[in-house]
Amino acid sequence: MRVDSVEKLDRLRDDYRKAIDTQKKRIAVCLGPGCLAMGSDVILKEFKKVLADKKIKDVTVESVKKTGCHGFCARGPLVVIEPEGIFYTRVKKNHVADIVEKTLINGEIISKLLYIDPQSKKQITDYREIPFYSHQQRISLRNVGQIDPDSIGDYISSGGYSAMAKALTSMTSQEVIDEVTKSGLRGRGGAGFPTGRKWETCAGVESDTRYVICNGDEGDPGAFMDRCIMEGDPHSVLEGMIICAHAIGSRQGYIYVREEYPLAVINLQTAIDAAREYGFLGENILGTGLNFDIKISRGGGAFVCGESSALMKSVAGEVGEPRAKYIRSVVKGLRDQPTVLNNVESFATVPVILNKGGEWFASVGTKKSTGTKAFSLAGKINNTGLIEVPMGVTLREIIYDIGDGIPKGRKFKAVQTGGPSGGCLPEDKLDLPVDFDTLTEAGSMMGSGGMVIMDDRTCMVEVARYFLEFLVFESCGKCVPCREGLYQLYRLCTKICEGEATEDDLESMERLSKTIQIGSLCGLGQSGPNPFISTVKYFRDEYLAHIRDKKCPGGVCRKLITYRINDKCTGCLACLDVCPVDAITGKKKEIHVINTEICDRCGACYAVCTFDAIDIE
């Protein structure tokens, strides 16, 4: 079915809305990465199976739909029943018959599946009232978790492609650029370059060919915002790219997705096929004369291919190595042609900006960092998941109000923002507003939005060592400071973790870091020493404890810790059984003893003890 005019699109939207309105109840099963890993696809199938042989008022098999990530991964698998917003958590296959019987037929709430607010200890039925959701404002994630990603009808009925229609039929290229500029949108990939200015520069370069590229090569450990958008609302990315194509005058776009996101690749391809069928991609879009198509370019998963110039080489079929960007890619990018490269989240935000206006978007967030930003919460935090908040909220609000703090009553130690290239911020920085400039000033960065929270049982030297190892492995190896420098930095950091370093080594690391930052060719190298620089800035005493006292305050670095059993031991034999090197001796109901000579500090006893009887020194 080809939609060749705005009127047709509007009629189509009305039809879809009517069809949806006839469905009185909708059951959304979350198929985001977290829930899927816990078997939500089985739950979806079970719903279809159970409903198939039942006749229920207002409910049919079509009432059940799969959606993208709801965000509250810690409580998955999630099932939401609309319009009431009944929020069932940790749903298992055997709950499905119950939900159908009790909630769908009899209208009862199953209280054991509800979320209990840890503060008030009250059960909450409607997800919109759960603090995790009520503190959020969703713009780029507006449809994620709400619609079926495979259904273009769902997207259209939720207002999809109306911004495209508006831009193509009633706005000139310059007007689109002006609106984006007015919105103050800055690149969501992490660097925060003003999107409007990027588009304007590209449009101004003399050339017959221009490209639009969407960067979906999300590589930071612990980050999954772009993944959830591509999987849960792929049409919003396409719409943003079509608007960009109109603004800069491009005929060809690419979405670069890593092969590790197979579902994102499939859902994007389904979306592209549907958009082509409806005539939103291809020749003469909506009868406006715009010709634009999008291809998916699959990457092998190299971290460095998220860097714009390496990404463009990879799209062109060459080895993904960065080049010096003294001539910027908006001037000379993919195949030496002017190219706009934006992140998934940026493109997904653009349709909203055009619909609601740049001024509206600029009114959200802070003056210099407008709008909202999606973050993924991972690590030692109760509510792991995907969130979107206005710029300018504090780290404390994100971690404690939305994230519900640190599990098991442990103490907060640090939060890493911006992935391996970002930095770790300590507790006294928790009241900083989250925006591009504040985080950079504090020695970290916004990055693409991954947040890893660490508690007091984390060793910051080990954290630095871990991320340096990651970067050594992911460095492309083209330039010396990154290839050799990061390797040496990693070796020195390992030396500290093993208690064999001196203070001279620390000084040498600081000097080396400076050269790597200034001397590296691309962003990966230039930000490569950040894990070390930010931890040594805020947690220097931990480094010194490793060097001077040969102690690991976090109790992590194997060579510097000793496990001991205290008098809380009940003599339950659990640790004795689990010890792989037989270092623990003791009789039933007598306090056990660890032979520190034999102990290889694997931590198995610590993990198995339920009496808090094992100390790490």
Binding site: A324, S475, G477, C479, V480, E484, Q488, R511
Partner: protein, 258 residues
């Protein structure tokens, strides 16, 4: 023509000309290991870094590789600031750890005051500094027989799958351009060996000296419009022939004049 300020002196340059070529033309000595006139610059060795600024940047400076930075009017370039020298010293220090046995690196490091590396030496180090000069010249020749393989710290220059490179024609360009002289090759009994691949040599029909590999000659004849008999006689014998021919012409002319 544009004006740039180089180490405090105003110099003229072509717009878009790379800074390194201007620096060299002005007789200023800065190290650059991956730069060569036969290949496009790539910015791998990072030794040619310089500091740049402009009046309107109000004191803000940045460091760029001069081999890749196109000159623009009003640019202020400094090649030997303390920061630049510190970067060069650290990079040479890193090179010394990577290639402890390379004479070229040892000499350059010593010139910059780095006698011994302060880092951990890489086990089983060879002298390759991964400057890509060899792969770039091979690409210029139109063969791309070797390339960089693996990633990051494990990266090495190698033929495909570590086997005899099928596209290698034994021209020796890679071995000749290598700044640290690490690519081994051998000519023996009419056979050249490089990258473990053996090539038959063409011997001069006159003096018997080996001129070129058969594969290289065939490649040049087919791709560069060179006459088929061009490689039958070596350049020396061609010169002798030409001299003899010239001599006899002059002799004839002199005789005719008499």
């Amino acid at each position: 023509m544009i004006d740039i300020q180089l180490n405090g002196k105003m110099v003229k340059a072509e717009e878009g000309e790379m800074l390194l070529s201007i620096i060299r033309r002005e007789g200023i000595d800065i190290p650059a290991l991956c730069d060569h006139e036969a290949i496009e610059p790539c910015g791998a060795c990072r030794l040619c870094m310089v500091e740049i600024t402009r009046k309107e940047w109000e004191g803000w400076k940045k460091h760029v590789t001069s081999c890749l930075y196109p000159a623009e009017d009003g640019l202020i370039v400094n090649t030997h600031t303390e920061q630049v020298m510190e970067i060069r010293r650290t990079i040479l220090d890193l090179y010394l750890a990577r290639c402890p046995n390379s004479k070229v690196i040892q000499k350059l490091a010593e010139e910059h005051g780095v006698v011994k590396t302060s880092f951990e030496k890489i086990p089983d180090a060879d002298n390759c500094i991964m400057c890509y000069a060899c792969t770039r010249i091979c690409e210029v020749l139109g063969r791309s027989a070797i390339s960089a393989v693996y990633r990051g710290h494990d990266k090495v220059i190698a033929p495909p799958f570590g086997e005899e490179p099928p596209d290698c024609i034994g021209c020796l360009s890679c071995a000749m351009i290598c700044p640290t002289d690490v690519i081994p090759w051998q000519d023996e009994n009419g056979v050249r060996t490089i990258w473990k691949k053996k090539f038959d040599m063409i011997a001069c029909e006159k003096c018997g000296k080996e001129i070129i590999t058969r594969d290289f000659a065939d490649y040049l004849i087919s791709s560069r419009n060179i006459p088929e008999d061009y490689f039958k006689i070596c350049d020396d014998c061609k010169r002798i022939d030409l001299a003899n021919k010239m001599g006899s012409i002059i002799l004839q002319a002199e005789e005719a004049a008499l």
